[in-house]
């Protein structure tokens, strides 16, 4: 492993002893078809923390995020999320693989926002937001719709409640997707490059919603290319490359003085176009 990697358990991880971390990964490995995607990831998130992950494409950052809610299987190491070993339950001295039902129950508490929004195409914005509560939490239809309306209002889309996803702009769709995830009252929110598929002028409306969420103390893990967002909103910044954590720390310090050559090279290529903003 890379000698300079700071382990998740170090004092800098932001996880204080005594507080149960929301995410605790140690040596997480994952791969498909003989290709190793994650080569032993150490990573931790404390309650209420906004943790941003950056890195070149193919570095495994999105795959790692998808491991956190079990959309991708972990093949080695330990990944504890919300106090559970993802995918397995310890019982009678053995780890028993989860059934689809157990996976579903686990994911109820974790909201996820996708790069390509993935709104349900056959439902209106309101139905999308009410979908989880109605079909997963068995909330009565009326109550779920009232709550859904409040969530849409919060992301500024109450006027568009009855529109279909294809009638909304990318930014509006992504805000509906955030409202849909929030409607489940999750304890952890995962964002998988939420602004990468958006036209430049629509990025800010989505980031504004995420900033509001961070200000309210939501625990968030955000895979992103928005360095400015990471600097301004993030509590921690992690740089991924080749399936491992190269370095992590406070966003301002890490961006100002990256310790590793890989990080420096990546940041200079990303920030090259952004210098005016920093």
């Amino acid at each position: 492993m890379n000698p300079g990697v700071k382990s998740a358990e170090s004092a800098e991880s932001g996880v204080e002893s005594g507080v149960e971390p929301v995410v605790l990964a140690s040596g997480v490995r994952m791969g498909y078809g003989g290709v190793q995607v994650l080569n032993g990831v150490d990573f931790a998130v404390a309650p209420g923390e906004v943790s941003c992950i950056i890195g070149p494409s193919g570095s495994g950052k999105s795959t790692f995020l998808r491991c956190l809610n079990g959309l991708e299987p972990v093949l080695g190491g330990s990944l504890r999320v919300l106090g559970e070993e993802v995918g397995h339950t310890l019982r009678d001295g053995r780890y028993h693989p989860w059934t689809p039902k157990e996976f579903a129950a686990f994911r109820k508490n974790i909201g996820m926002v996708f790069q390509r929004f993935n709104l349900f195409a056959h439902q209106s914005a309101l139905e999308n937001v009410a979908c989880g509560p109605v079909h997963v939490l068995d909330t009565p239809q009326d109550r779920a719709r009232t709550l859904a309306m409040e969530h849409l209002d919060r992301v500024g889309l109450a006027d568009h409640a009855h529109k279909r996803p294809h009638q909304l702009s990318g930014g509006q769709q992504q805000r509906v997707a955030i409202a849909r995830a929030l409607a489940m009252s999750p304890t952890l929110m995962l964002f998988d490059e939420p602004t990468s598929a958006l036209d430049p002028e629509l990025v800010d409306e989505v980031l504004e919603v995420m900033k509001g969420l961070a200000a309210e103390g939501m625990t968030m893990v955000v895979v992103t290319h928005e360095i400015a967002f990471a600097r301004e909103v993030g509590d921690r910044l992690t740089f991924f490359a080749d399936g491992v954590v190269v370095e992590q720390g406070g966003p301002r310090e890490l961006l100002a003085a990256p310790a590793h050559e890989r990080t420096r090279a990546f940041l200079s290529s990303v920030l090259g176009s952004e210098d005016g903003r920093s």
Partner: protein, 302 residues
């Protein structure tokens, strides 16, 4: 085509000449001549009694046969559609046993001629003289005489329905697989089980792709029911054949039957067009667009 006069080089507008489509005129003339000749040959044929055609067109047995044909078509199609969705979902299941069962079903029913299947069901009594449904190791249950259950009508419905299910399952599978993978991931991320994701998210969207071909299946079924005459199902073809076997007016009764089949197909084609207009074009209007079909279908799917 432009009809408005064009401003000429010397100033005043010049009219546009009409294009003469010589190819269209020639092909129309040839087609008319050939079709007219064929119709003439049939109409004036001394061996064909048009009076008999008119006489039998609204014959009671023919009308009863038309009704039975519609009944068998509707019931067999309904059975095929429901079973087809079930087989398709099984085929895509992660459970390898269910998936293999579905593949075996599709292979068997597509691999044997529907005529063989019809005769098989009709003659089931040779293998099982009695059909028994009872709780094992007890005497509690029900028993039927196979020959009374397997009438021409029920064996027709079973044979055609089970056969359609095998073909339709492949249509449904294609529809399900065409739904974007991201929809499934979003459903899982919300905490849905695989079954709930299928019912609430995937199937309603797959309907857009599945519904238009169902019209085609039904039209095809209307004509396939004519095979039922081998098991004497009292459908249109059975009754027509029984009449011509008695009076030897084969051509006249085939014309009578064909007229009815064509009429039924025309009606079904019209309905199919409406179905496709409602469901074929727009991914979004398909499930909850309003209108009768849209009010019924989401309940079937959801």
């Amino acid at each position: 085509m432009r009809t408005e006069p064009i401003a000429g080089p010397s100033g005043p507008p010049v009219p546009v000449a009409r294009t003469l489509h010589w190819g269209r005129w020639v092909s129309a003339a040839v087609a008319l001549a050939v079709a007219g000749w064929l119709v003439y040959l049939v109409v004036v044929n001394p061996h064909l009694d048009w009076g008999k055609v008119a006489e039998y067109l609204f014959n009671d047995r023919i009308l009863a046969g038309v009704w039975v044909t519609i009944e068998i078509s509707v019931l067999a199609t309904a059975l095929g559609l429901v079973l087809g969705v079930l087989v398709a979902v099984m085929r895509l299941a992660h459970n390898p046993v269910l998936s293999a069962l579905a593949s075996g079903y599709i292979w068997f029913f597509r691999g044997t001629p529907v005529l063989v299947q019809l005769i098989f069901w009709y003659n089931l009594a040779f293998l099982f003289p009695e059909l028994v449904l009872k709780i094992p190791f007890t005497m509690i249950g029900l028993k039927w005489d196979t020959n009374q259950v397997m009438t021409g009508f029920t064996s027709a419905m079973l044979g055609l329905g089970l056969n359609l299910a095998a073909y339709f399952a492949e249509t449904v599978r294609a529809g399900i697989q065409a739904v974007d993978r991201g929809q499934t991931e979003a459903a899982y991320a919300l905490g849905m089980t695989p079954a709930k994701r299928m019912r609430v998210i995937v199937l309603p969207q797959a309907l857009r792709i599945i519904i238009p071909p169902t019209g085609n299946e039904f039209i095809s079924m209307l004509k396939t029911t004519s095979l039922v005459y081998v098991v004497a199902g009292h459908d249109l073809m059975t009754n027509a054949s029984q009449i011509y076997k008695a009076n030897n007016r084969i051509m006249e009764l085939l014309i009578v039957a064909s007229v009815w089949y064509m009429l039924m197909t025309a009606v079904a084609t019209f309905l199919q067009g409406r179905l496709e207009r409602r469901f074929g074009s727009d991914a979004v209007r398909l499930v909850r667009g309003g209108g009768a079909a849209a009010r019924v279908l989401p309940k079937v799917a959801a």
